[in-house]
Amino acid sequence: MSAHAENSGHDGHAGADAPALLPDDAPIRLPDNPSLQRGFWIGGAACLGAALGISLIRGGNGLQAFMHSYLTSFMFFLTITLGALGFVLVNYIARAGWSVVVRRVAEIMMLNFMVMAILAFPILLYMAMSDSPVKKAGAATHAVAESTAKPAVPLVKPGGLYPWTDGAKVAESHHLAGKTPYLNLPFFAIRVILYFAIWIGLAKLFHGQSVSQDSTGSRRVNKVLEDFSAPSIILFFITITFAAFDFSMSLNPLWYSTMWGVYHLAGSAFGFFATLILALMTLQRFGYLKGIVTTEHYHDIGKFMWGFTFFWSYIAFSQYMLIWYGNIPEETEFFRDRQYLADGVYGPWVYVGLLLLFTHFVFPFPGFMSRHVKRNRATLAFWAIWCLGAHFVDHFWIIMPNLSKQQHSLDRVPFGPADLLCWLGMAGLCVAFFLRNASRVPLVPLRDPRLGESLRFKNF
């Protein structure tokens, strides 16, 4: 009881500094391995280059196909990084105690926004090359639009990735033209820069402050970050919503869904928890964090992964069912493209949709409902890998049909080596950056006041 009285902060003072709880030889420091990092950097870049190469060799709008594959993998990794940021923010808002030992790994993951910012650049570049805005405002006829539209760079199809960059198409459609104040390349670029500025800013703030606490143990850091976390979460919600609108909803510029931001949020959390499990298990495989991150923590992260399996399914189902029920062609177009070739004739994309349903919900939901599955490392790892696969299928199903539609080939599912190589490439780059950042800081927040609670944590 006296400990309470001492630290109860009657006078509003944050209290005495937290002590270091772990012995000096605790396995929490990843050594810097420049050659390993270099391997991942080069390997990653090489995979991306190979993907580009394969696509260009294919010819005939190969670059367009490459950009779609690239965007798919980009969204995959961006959403996971966003999930990491969200996790750190929520931990501070909720004053969570159980998760302190895993929070540092999540912080390192969220620094990957810097990699994603660089990876966003080719998208903007392609958009600039494929942008052919209409010079005269309010062009009335298609003919006029064609003659005044700035010609796009050859090899790059106008509106190749985002149809609204094609001035001719925009002029034709009254609806698209109305969206021009928002869907125009300069504003889009500014928004992208803004998103990444905010995300990188938040990531650096939370990580930086947390790392500073490693040496001082100052409880003031917690207070500051807890206070900051609430407005940061609001920023987080807003930016992830508009980023989702910009990057993936505007691929289909005539379609819209208010749920889109929440849908991506659910997927982010889902993908992040799976990645966290695998990251922690990999580190532990090499001897780090042994005895620090326990089955109890894995159980809890597994619970979150399971909870978000359900939450994602609920969100995805709501979106689908409401659009299905209303049966308004303007809205159902999105799902019809992913199910049908023509009235009553299913296309191959319906199998991808079913794959998504089964991998993202039907199998995982009962599959790791049991606590025994979550408490066993092997089964949890299996399901984490499975969930990452499902997360990829999700973004593939969202983005790639737009390619099929643009190329008038909805009767083909364009899954090929380029998709895998893009994914491997980005994975390599993200892992490289992770290793770099992880080697510079301890793998747990050494003097977080709640570390003790986290170390002793026992589940239900």
Binding site: A14, G15, R456
Partner: protein
């Protein structure tokens, strides 16, 4: 404990605490018997505060008014309400959604906070679960009476009948029937399971007829650990079931609107938006009820300012989510370039019902913002003010959604301005009476705080519970954290 001591505790109540420490959730005397005495004492010891009797008769009057209005409605038909084409749903459905939404906070506190291992839920969960049940009762009144031929409302349930017909399962109105029934029953079971140990406490302290009644209701519970083992599993399972259930119930309610093709109704974000709004409104109602209750029943050392602080934080958070949904809807209305959608939202902001819209924005988005300041979160007057604002604001949110979308839809020749009748208004006022009446009876005759759960929290606060000697815990300033298991 004397009232003076209890009141003094508010000043002593610490809501600022150093990171790494966990707040004290029970103030004052730290023994189990004190807790039993404090809570059971309210039920057992006369005299009831005079205020209780006054409130009882007022609410009883309002309940009688409700019954009269329902009888009047049945005798004369739905025409006594203001509903008409195009505003075919108005106060009836607004009130239904309002009451169901309020119920959700109770389930969140009971079930979701339990899943998230938040020990501070233990002093408010019993009262808020009871509030859920009473809110569901009030809510169920409306779909029942608004159907017109109330004596045929049993047709909604699937039973073999001479017409060989079945209900139409593809309708969200029927999904509502199942969702709300499930919700009511599950909340009742969850509430009752929690009550069992406390009823046993009351039984063991009572004599005579009261002993009989509490004895029968307690099912012979005696605190056997073999029973506690199963009890805890069942409690966890019910909490785990109630969590998706609470999501689904208000989502199904939102489907009533979202499956239509009406601009302003047909939008995919409705399910989580409605759920967040429900929790928001519900927490406001919990505060509205508990801030006075803790005062009048001398329970301030159990429902501490820290509890109020936490509830206000959740109010702020869910209010922000609701604001986020407003913002998304407005943006997508513009982005869609669907002129019906755009008109609907412009009409909300600047049409004949703009006064309702801006009331809603002030009450839901603006008023909770004072809770950014920690001083305001611990100020009981600010809490009551915001709670009442949000109660009003959430009602207006449903009003804006339902009435403004309906009164001006696709066909301008049908546009009109809806006005409620006195029957609408009195019926709604009457349901408040019923709600408060049931809550007053609950406070008087049943333990309004979960005694057994508080004792468990107290136990954890008094003793660190280490499964074995922990070599990693060292230093005199080691965070003396309570795990907060149930």
């Amino acid at each position: 404990m004397s009232t003076a001591t209890v009141n003094a505790l508010d000043q002593d109540n610490v809501t600022d605490y150093a990171p790494g420490d966990r707040p004290k959730l029970v103030l004052g005397e730290q023994n189990y018997n004190a807790v039993t005495q404090a809570v059971c004492g309210v039920v057992e010891n006369p005299p009831t505060p005079a205020g209780w009797y006054v409130a009882f008769f007022v609410t009883l009057g309002l309940t009688v008014c409700l019954l009269f209005n329902i009888a009047y409605l049945i005798a004369n038909g739905v025409g006594v309400w203001g509903n008409n084409i195009p505003v075919a749903w108005a106060w009836d459905i607004i009130n239904f959604v309002f009451w169901i939404g309020i119920g959700h906070a109770g389930t969140l506190i009971s079930a979701v906070l339990f899943i998230f291992r938040q020990p501070w839920r233990t002093s408010i969960n019993r009262a808020s679960e009871a509030m859920t049940l009473f809110a569901v009762v009030c809510a169920l009144i409306f779909p029942t009476i608004h159907v017109g031929r109330i004596w045929l409302v049993y047709w909604l349930f699937p039973y073999p009948n001479q017409m060989q017909m079945w209900p139409q399962f593809r309708s969200p109105l029927l999904w509502d029937v199942f969702a709300i029934s499930t919700y009511g029953l599950t909340s009742l079971l969850f509430w009752y399971l929690g009550l069992l140990p406390d009823l046993a406490s009351l039984r063991d302290r009572a004599v005579g007829i009261r002993k009989w009644i509490y004895g029968l209701l307690a099912f012979g519970w005696r605190g056997s650990n073999r029973h506690w083992h199963r009890y805890e599993r069942a409690y966890l399972l019910l909490a785990a079931l109630a969590t998706p259930l609470v999501l689904s119930v208000h989502s199904v309610v939102s489907f009533d609107f979202a499956v239509s093709q009406l601009p302003g109704w047909h939008t995919t974000i409705f399910p989580p938006y409605f759920v967040a709004g429900a929790i928001f409104g519900g927490f406001a109602m919990v505060n509205t009820l508990l801030v006075p209750a803790r005062q009048f029943f001398g329970l301030k050392h159990l429902i501490t300012l820290k509890h109020i602080d936490n509830m206000n934080k959740i109010t702020l958070a869910t209010g922000t989510i609701v604001g986020y949904a407003y913002m998304t809807e407005l943006f997508i209305a513009w982005y869609s370039q669907n002129r019906y959608e755009q008109f609907t939202f412009l009409n909300r902001l600047s049409g004949p019902y703009a006064w309702a819209y801006w009331t809603m924005i002030f009450c839901n988005v603006v008023s909770p913002q004072i809770f950014w300041a920690s001083k305001m979160r611990r100020n009981l007057w600010a809490t009551m003010f915001v709670a009442l604002c949000v109660d009003v604001g959430m009602w207006f949110e449903r009003f804006v959604i339902i009435v403004t979308s309906l009164h001006r839809d696709f066909l301008p020749s049908s546009w009109t301005y809806y006005v409620p009748t006195w029957v609408d208004i009195m019926t709604f006022a009457g349901t408040h009476g019923l709600f408060l009446l049931l809550f007053l009876l609950f406070c008087r005759y049943l333990p309004m705080i979960a005694v057994a759960e508080i004792k468990a929290v107290l136990h954890h606060e008094k003793h660190h519970h280490h499964p074995s000697a922990d070599p990693l815990a060292g230093g005199s300033n080691a965070a003396g954290a309570a795990h907060g298991h149930h």
